[in-house]
Symmetry: D2
Subunit: 327 residues, 4 copies
């Protein structure tokens, strides 16, 4: 009824296999407070929800108060916005369908919106990042663990008839290629993730006689490869180039089906863009349908990796209808 | 192609009959710099555009640089978003159709979006104010000069087939009532604007014998009436009450046609909400269609009057496709 | 999987207080078969649903078979599309909230969509009538029993946050006017319905000394007034003129808020358009906001009154997701 | 203003490289009259437009009259709805950008909407065919000449930022596969078109020693292959199987990005569905992302090949704003 009933803070939560981060965020995307704890400390999801809820309430009381919180947004692996559940997240301890939004709503007494990593990232990029101002765009999340995507069309996320649209990580780029955990072969994710890079590096080491600082390294991580690139290591450079060529070709296929204004790359793998963007860009332009050449921007998210997920989750929190048990 | 080509500032401009305000605003709605000058100094619109453009370029160069500006948003009297023009603004020196967006685009070399006061205000309330989180809502602008409105449906402004939807100021509330400048009689604007309040106060003074500090006051402004209310002046109190009853009834009609989640009141007249909201609320609920009773929130904008318009204009700037002459 | 699993018939049902009509309609709006019975024979809603379901199954088996029916659409008084229920229909024997769509779905084993009269009529006008080709329009239903409306914006029905948008029948046109059954005064419905016309005629008879064939008529129906008009009866003519003036003014208010391309008049009262359209048109244009003058078409539905409702209901049937218990 | 100003007929035109077909179609999709002539008789586009316009006016005058025609819809190779032009249609005599909608509008004095084959087909399937009742679906056009597609999301065609979305024919299914005329390699179109089938048959003949009635056939058309299938010819059967496997895999990729309710196959190649659907269906389900298994219907259009295109074009005609030079 009056100005002071308008709530101007939300809570954003990022649930990752290793770490859970939560923050109080104001209406302009200002992070008022942010904390985190180890997800792995809670193999039981009910104990996880209890602990998370208590921590949130404590943080909220220290920063503006519960009565100032409008709603809660969650980024969760295999999160389905339509059901509010995590559905068969492969890399989490909690199996099957976990109704995380409902569990949190019951504990917190507030409306909760939940989405998967790519969806939440795209909402955040639209609100505060590289996608602001675009109506039609694709956000690609390239992280060490895997690859996902979210399509925005006419200013809205396109989640698909069942909430599963954008499965870019499982688009087949090499017919009969590497075996993927999804059961198929040749998926993008088996090439563009950390494990994909390591396999590609190993293949180059195995099939060429090139000298390389990577030879004999037990655990070839993207950072190890990038460090080798700094020293001009040809195998390391070729690893990123091959990956970029495949990714550029897959993005060209995606773009020809959707015709977006821009494709935005996010995720921790973008730290290595220095070694990838030139080749990615050429491969994309070489493979794109002729009428689209030169029309689609490839952009890297300007958002800070440590803040992107809670910022996106906070933006998602505004999408759910306000509700408060105690109002 | 790379992160640093993403432009994260816009310019917001508020063109009012008396004063023009312009600001550099960042992607989160942070006002980096704001200045203003007298609109009335420029009776010729071309001179106005030249001066405004020069001032903007100067401000921009001092705050982040031209190459960091994505686009420009303008709030202008009788502005039509579809045409980018001011169309027959009654209280401006520049007559007929003024293609202000095109004139500014030519001077600044940047994309320019233009809307009328109510549209721009609603875009701002959606981005940063009381409308954040609502999908369906009406924003009412009640200012000294007049009354307007903008409807958002399913997260988008409904501008109508010709860009003229939301003419709430000219909804007839008293059959054969006060003559309005639009040619009709009994329009909302003739009761809920500053001149409307003054007329209502005078009518009460003329038709009742009540003592009042307003008797003999030559220029009865809303502030004068509000000051009288503070002293318990019955005529002043009744002036706000009568106005509120009429406005509540008109809002009930509006709400029954549109069925919004909330109605948000903005504009300088909301400074007097202390004397209006109780009666407005009762009248609204008394007159609303029964199925809607208790379902629609009446809210007052939390945004600062001096910042609302440039903030809204900056939010509108993100709605136009990026374009730069010099890129 | 194959062509012959595509179902190309739907069932359209019109539930009116007196009569229920149901039809098998093909994908192009061709009525294959149509029957009706007295609604009033079933004061108990469960018996009504049983009887209606049996009759439908019988008709369907005679015309293409059950396995060819995709879904069912229902037009029902005070029907809410969002809930599938009739909500407090004032002129029906079944009180409170009647979940008619769910009841029929259980009996028929098919998906059922339900809307109120104005919504269903608008869907039908969009598919087969005067609204085909318009993106933004208002459909006004003027029937003997009452007045309703439905707004289409950008090709979709705008039902409002709670499904109650478009309550045009209860827009107040005369401050403190005739008492309406909704509890308010001066509603459109009290002037533009059959009972409204009769009251207006009586008022003119009572307040003027004019001779008229209507004097002494016990039950002044619209048809009686229209017949009198044919004889040049001045009171009858004035009755339609007064009604048209009020309606034109109310439509002008509606149009100024929504700015549609067209307003389409439907319902059995349109039979008397010969005596109403000239005055309605002038009043609309005289009262419309200046920028909209001459831009908005007032059209009368070309659809047959006896078919409009089942056609509209059949069009609504295509809006619900297909489902079959027995598939 | 009145019922008889509502125009209830449109003209649908299908421009194909060989034949142009045009029809007068009523509001329910009833074809009132249909005629055709050889496109190749008019190597000059202006002469083509003149002849087509004259023929249309003649047909229209014989069937309801010009004043009853609301608008015109055109299906044209490489037609872009946003510009109303054919853009670089590779198999037409008229080169570059041909503003066909504007040329026809000038001649006919009526509003003209133009789309490409896949877009128009999808609009027709939505109005009268297999897509009626779906909100999210993909229409694939498989014709002898090539392969295209159109995505509908939330009841609207998704044309993309530049009008080029849905380039399914040029999705790469075989890395480094057959050279396509678009400049890329391995495009769907090089396998699923008539020429693709012929090449596949030839490859099987060349690489296996299997006996076959196809050996020695100079011009292996799809019909020739289908006839051989009827005789149990193993090479012919394998040709359709291989094609179906590739197509099923490509559709699975498409579906994983878009998550539609259904995929609808149209075009003259669907005549051979008897030999393709089983394998296509298995390949689709084998390759689809696990969460989507069993959820997406593969359907074949029920529309008559000789009517589909003009029906679709007639449905598109209703999407353009009415305009008449002579009204």
């Amino acid at each position: 009824m009056s100005e002071n009933t308008i709530k101007r803070h939300v809570v954003g939560i990022d649930v990752s296999p290793e770490v859970t981060t939560y923050a109080v965020v104001d209406i302009q995307g200002g992070i008022q407070a942010k904390e985190s704890f180890r997800t792995t400390d809670y193999p039981n999801v009910n104990e996880y929800v209890s602990a998370l809820s208590e921590k949130i309430i404590m943080l909220v009381e220290q920063h503006g108060g519960y009565e100032n919180i409008r709603s809660v947004g969650v980024s969760a692996p295999s999160g389905n916005f339509m059901t509010g559940s995590m559905e068969n997240a492969s890399n989490m301890p909690w199996k099957g369908r976990v109704p995380l939004a409902a569990l949190l709503r019951d504990r917190l007494g507030l409306a909760v919106a939940l989405g998967n990593d790519a969806h939440v990232t795209a909402v955040g990029e639209k609100a505060f990042g590289a996608a602001r101002g675009f109506k039609n765009f694709i956000v690609i999340t390239c992280s060490h663990g895997g690859v996902g995507s979210c399509i925005f069309l006419d200013n809205r996320p396109h989640l698909g008839a069942d909430g599963f649209a954008g499965e870019f990580g499982h688009l087949c780029i090499i017919e009969g290629g590497r075996q993927c955990s999804c059961g198929q072969r040749g998926c993008v994710e088996e090439y563009a993730s950390a494990r994909g890079l390591a396999k590609t590096a190993q293949e180059i080491l195995d099939t060429t006689g090139k000298p390389s600082v990577l030879r004999g390294v037990e655990n070839i991580t993207p950072q190890v490869i990038a460090d080798a690139c700094e020293q001009g290591d040809e195998v390391a450079l070729e690893t990123f180039r091959q990956t970029s060529r495949l990714l550029g070709c897959a993005l060209a296929t995606y773009a020809a089906l959707v015709d977006p204004e821009a494709i935005i790359l996010t995720g921790d793998m973008t730290s290595y863009s220095k070694w990838m963007m030139d080749e990615l860009q050429s491969s994309f332009e070489a493979n794109i349908f002729p009428n689209l050449k030169g029309r689609i921007s490839l952009l890297i998210s300007p958002l800070n990796n440590s803040e992107r997920d809670v910022l996106g989750a906070s933006a998602l929190a505004w999408e759910v209808k306000e509700y408060s048990l105690f109002k």
